[in-house]
C-alpha cells in the first residue's frame, strides 16, 4: 500500500511508525506540511495515489488545516478533520464527552476574567485553569487561592493570545497520584498505562512515571464511548480514577487526536507500532473498498 505520513517533526513515535510501515513493505510518502501548499482544488503534496494518509503533525493548527484540505480532495486521512476539531479544543472535547453522557470533570468556560473569577470561586480551591488548545501539561494552572487566581487571570488576559481569553475552568480531581492513558483505535484499546507523579500533573511529557495498566470492564466501556463521542480514530483517551485505585470508577478528562505512543510502547508488552499499522492497513482497505463501491 502507499501510505502518506503528514508531519512537521519526526519524533520517536514517527520513527517507530515509519519503521513498521517500511518493514511490512509499504511505500511511505513523507509529507512535510511546512513545505507544501494547499489550494482549494489540489495540493503540491504528492497525495494523488495514496491509499491512506496518517496525520502525525505536531502542530495542532497544521494538523487541523492539512487534514481538512486532504479530506476536501477526497484523500482518505486518519484521524479525520472532524475528530481533530473536537479533540484539539478542550472545550469542544468536554462538550462531546458530556453530550455522550460520559463522566468528565465539571467544567465552565468564560470570556472575561471577572466571569472566570466567579467560576473559580464557585468551584472552590483548588481548581484548575487550562488553555483550550495545548498539550503536554503546558500552561495548566492548579489554583489554590484567590490571590493566585487573580494573578493568573490578569496575566492571561494581558499577555495572551485571544484563545487565552477563553477561560476554561475545571474542578480539581483528586486522583490517586496517577492517571490512565489508553491508546485506542476506533474504540478498541491497543495498550494502556498509568502515569504517576508526586506533581499534580502526571503527563509522561512532564516526567510522569509510566507503568502498564490492565483495563477493567468499566474503563473499556468508557474508552469505547469516548472514542465514538469524538468521531473515532486513533486516539489517546485519558482517564482519572475517582475514589481511589480500586474503585472501578473513572472520569474521562481528555481525548487526544495525534497521540504519542513511544512511552506506551516502552511501558507495555504490546508491540504498539505493529498494532497501529494493523489498524492503518485495515483503514486503507476500507477506504479502498469505499472508493471502488463509488465507481
Amino acid at each position: 500500500m502507499r501510505i502518506g505520513v503528514l508531519y512537521s517533526r519526526i519524533r520517536r513515535d514517527e520513527k517507530l511508525l515509519l519503521s513498521e510501515l517500511r518493514d511490512r513493505g509499504h511505500d511511505v510518502e513523507k509529507i512535510d506540511v511546512r513545505r507544501e501548499r494547499f489550494g482549494l482544488e489540489s495540493t503540491t503534496a504528492n497525495v494523488g495515489d495514496l491509499d491512506l494518509v496518517v496525520d502525525r503533525c505536531l502542530s495542532t493548527s497544521r494538523s487541523l488545516y492539512a487534514t481538512q484540505f486532504l479530506d476536501s480532495y477526497g484523500v482518505p486521512v486518519v484521524n479525520g478533520p472532524e475528530t481533530g476539531d473536537v479533540c484539539a479544543d478542550k472545550a469542544k472535547n468536554s462538550l462531546a464527552l458530556a453530550e455522550a453522557d460520559i463522566p468528565t470533570p465539571a467544567t465552565e468556560v468564560t470570556f472575561t476574567k471577572e466571569a472566570a473569577m466567579e467560576s473559580i470561586e464557585e468551584f472552590g480551591y483548588p481548581c484548575v485553569l487550562k488553555p483550550v488548545v495545548g498539550s503536554w501539561g503546558r500552561l495548566m494552572a492548579k489554583i489554590d487561592t484567590r490571590s493566585a487566581a487573580e494573578a493568573i487571570l490578569e496575566h492571561k488576559e494581558t499577555l495572551g493570545h485571544y484563545e487565552h481569553k477563553v477561560f476554561y475552568v475545571q474542578e480539581f480531581v483528586d486522583k490517586p497520584g496517577r492517571d490512565v492513558r489508553v491508546l485506542a483505535v476506533d474504540g478498541e484499546p491497543i495498550a494502556a498505562m498509568t502515569r504517576s507523579s508526586d506533581h499534580w500533573l502526571t503527563n509522561a511529557a512532564k516526567g510522569g512515571e509510566t507503568k502498564s495498566f490492565d483495563l477493567d470492564d468499566r474503563a473499556l466501556e468508557l474508552v469505547d464511548r469516548a472514542s465514538e463521542a469524538v468521531g473515532g480514530g486513533m486516539l489517546g483517551v485519558d482517564l482519572m480514577e475517582v475514589g481511589g485505585t480500586d474503585s472501578g470508577e473513572y472520569t474521562v478528562h481528555e481525548v487526544n487526536h495525534t497521540v504519542e505512543f513511544k512511552a506506551l510502547d516502552e511501558a507495555s508488552e504490546v508491540d504498539v507500532p505493529a498494532k497501529v499499522v494493523d489498524w492503518l492497513e485495515s483503514k486503507a482497505e476500507q477506504a479502498s473498498d469505499a472508493a471502488e463501491a463509488q465507481v
Partner: protein
Amino acid sequence: MRVHGRVGDTMTTDTDPVLAEDPITGEEIELPADVEVGEIIDSPVTGTELEVISLDPVVLEEAPELEEDWGE
C-alpha cells in the same frame, strides 16, 4: 565506513553512522545510522536541538522552537 551524504532522499539505508556538520559550532557530529529527514537530533556539542534538513548531502539546521499549539 563513515560517510557524509547518503543514498535515498528521506531516510538512510545502511547501518553505518552518518557524519554531519553542527550548524552552530561547525564541529563534525555523528548521527544515528537510521536518521530521517525531519528528525530532531540533540547536538552532542551544545545540546541544541537540530533538525535534519536533507540527507544527500547531510544538512542540519537549528530546530524550530517549541510553539504553543504543539503536542498531542
